[in-house]
Symmetry: D2
Subunit: 253 residues, 4 copies
């Protein structure tokens, strides 16, 4: 093996067989493994245990669909202009799964790692993080939601699912401690949101923060198919165009 060239551990194949992560696709995978199990194996390079399965399924069903989001609107409008390319409409919708909404997941994960892996006791470390974000006038990643109050309903469901599946629970506990410190520091309750809760859950099964966004993109890809299927049968493109045009009127400088 030459050391100076990059390699891949994902897949090898010949005329009669395909192996993914050394599993024979046709003899060990098709008809035998669920999409969740296979995808976890392909991505992470280790088998999907029952805990991992529960966490990944919970994360993916949570982020899949939330109505006419900016991402869904972009996909629908793109399909309107380019119906020859379903993949283009999905890609357009996925391009908005970025730092503003989903980046909070990886940033929250990094905060949780910092709190748990540092020298300070968890409560003190959490308090320090809150102070730092307040001083910088930055929103704390994983907290707050524009529509859901007083609490985003998803974190409790996600934590319950994770605990029922046997996660260790230290990242969930850290996020709950952080939440307590957030409420104290701001003098009012600020909800943990879905991306914050998923960040904690994914850390419980050792998904690295910089990969978390990938699962959000995957989940949303499924959700966008549902939107585009509606668009194929009952197009909303012209109505959205008209509404947006009205919502952003022309104004001479």
């Amino acid at each position: 093996m030459k050391k100076d060239i990059p390699t891949t551990q994902l897949c090898r194949y010949d005329e009669t067989d395909i192996f993914v992560r050394e599993r024979n696709l046709c003899k060990e995978v098709i008809g035998r493994m669920s999409f969740t199990d296979f995808m976890f194996l392909q991505i992470m390079g280790r088998p999907c245990g029952s805990t991992e399965r529960a966490v990944i399924d919970a994360a993916l069903v949570t982020l899949c669909e939330h109505g006419l989001t900016p991402s869904a609107i972009a996909a629908r409008l793109t399909y309107y202009g380019a119906p020859e390319s379903l993949q283009g409409a999905i890609a357009a919708g996925l391009l908005g799964v970025g730092s503003h909404f989903v980046g909070t997941m990886e940033n929250c994960a990094k905060v949780l790692q910092e709190i748990l892996n540092g020298q300070e006791p968890v409560e003190k470390a959490a308090r320090n993080v809150v102070s730092r974000f307040r001083a910088a006038k930055q929103a704390l990643p994983g907290f707050g939601h524009p529509h859901h109050r007083p609490d985003d309903p998803r974190p409790a469901a996600l934590f319950a699912a994770g605990r029922a599946a046997g996660v260790n629970g230290r990242y969930i506990a850290t996020l709950e401690t952080l939440s307590h410190e957030v409420d104290s520091a701001f003098g009012r309750h600020m909800t943990i949101n879905a991306t914050g809760a998923i960040a904690a859950l994914m850390l419980e099964i050792d998904v690295p923060p910089e990969l978390m966004r990938g699962f959000a993109v995957l989940s949303r890809a499924a959700g966008l198919i549902g939107h585009l299927y509606e668009e194929q049968r009952n197009p909303s493109g012209p109505a959205i165009w008209k509404a947006a045009d009205k919502a952003v009127p022309y104004a001479a400088e």
Copy 2:
């Protein structure tokens, strides 16, 4: 309900609850449904039975990963230039999931529908289709593979998975009849390929041809995460750049 405006049946939510296809996300979905089941429900608007689950899982695990495909290469090179946007790298890879490789799925499905829903007996209808494609010098969608011979190993595994899950089998049978006529007409064996087999399976569970590409895109989205995770730890971008540059030399006109 106003008739002159488009509507959506996917999702409604308020401050405390989210409903997708009228299921309470936090009480009936998270921790209770797999990603496969939930996505099928979200997209198709009907529950995912055991047959549907088996077919969708089989299709999704089949299309997820096949090594350094053009789609994976595009994603890796895009990540090399724009590591700030994991979603952009995935989107770039998905943009190549188009008519050349995956369009054969929907075209094969339409051919199978034509054969099965026409007036002629299936064998005669299949023969007519083969003649028409031969006369037009067009490749028959769902047949042939550049690497796998004499047979792509995936169709047999896919058909077995579908039959074990209780599909009716008429589209599989139609594809097998078509395969027989293809071999007769061309005087040599041409393999049914994975996209052809998946087209038949998806028809068995009433996925419309024009939506099939969506599932291929979704499956590939998962596969690309695995490639980008490798890229994060062991970048191949520079090596691929160099290799491609050498493979396509400059030639003055």
Copy 3:
């Protein structure tokens, strides 16, 4: 030169020089050529004469900006979700520059080529085309506009620009003949639209139909920068989200 490998004629470079189409970038291009002239040379492989320059500039300024189009909305919403990736927002907007709006350009071009290159006299050939599209109940590519009536104002300006720049005029004349036959057949005036006029102009300077969409994409890329610059200073994403959500209400099945 090996025959069995693909080659490129675009660019070669070494440690001290870069040559594009055999022009020294630093000595013959930078500071000496306009973007229009250079891009035409790079794409088409021949120098941009004054006629080509006038046609390309006219086409590009025409397609650049038309307000809050679906493409601009998709770009703005994508930027809202992923402000870290200006390129992603532009790409999302470009993905909608497809068959529905811009594909008419290449289809109109092919119709004009068919009419002019066939055996029949132009008028008869034009009449045949109109009959064929009417029989198939298909819209004639290059005709009709949802907002501009009785006439899209751009074709006259485009034709004038082309003629002033010395185009031969046979494709413009063919489109005018076709327009006459369209009006006769439908018994009412249907405007030539901008994409139809640009198709004729681009044929005058030998841009192949299958490449025309590229120029539309390029022109729109510039227009989208203007939209995203507005978005950076005065975000419309939240307002468009709200308006679209209202325009496509939830309706239980």
Copy 4:
């Protein structure tokens, strides 16, 4: 005018006229303005003077084409899989115009602004910047090139073009001062690269750093059309696939 809604200053139109930045598209733009002039007006909201024209043209011709770059390869491979969508192939190529190659432009621009707008004399401020980047072990944005040595040939040509067009020159001078400090601190010559030089030039005409990437994307969009035109006539997709597959071999863990 309601204050609480976003507005656009780009375009208004009615049945007979289209106005972009209050210029009548058909009477004042088509046939009268070049693409460079019009795009600058549309984006920046002010007319393109001769200095701006020279700078924008110089920047756009410089970034358009540099052979089989990762961006061009991604576009070509995407077209191979999805030839139905030229816009998808261009978009895939543009998605890689990100922080790694082009982000250096905006980062270099911000460094130049910091040096010029701070309290310290320029030389001292430049020295401080170099020290800070060295201490952080970060590459200085705008310096260094993998292929061109000892000097990237483009900066000199760009500076000459800018000066000939009458730019004030203070950002160019600042970059040259910074270059001097870089060489002193590192004890060897490190070239100013093309993105660094363009950053300085664009600041001279008041293009904000966060918009600069847009012009790089636009320029590359043109370049990609040239690559895809080659791909239409002489496909390189299969050869690049094969080469990449070989460059990144499978290695079991």
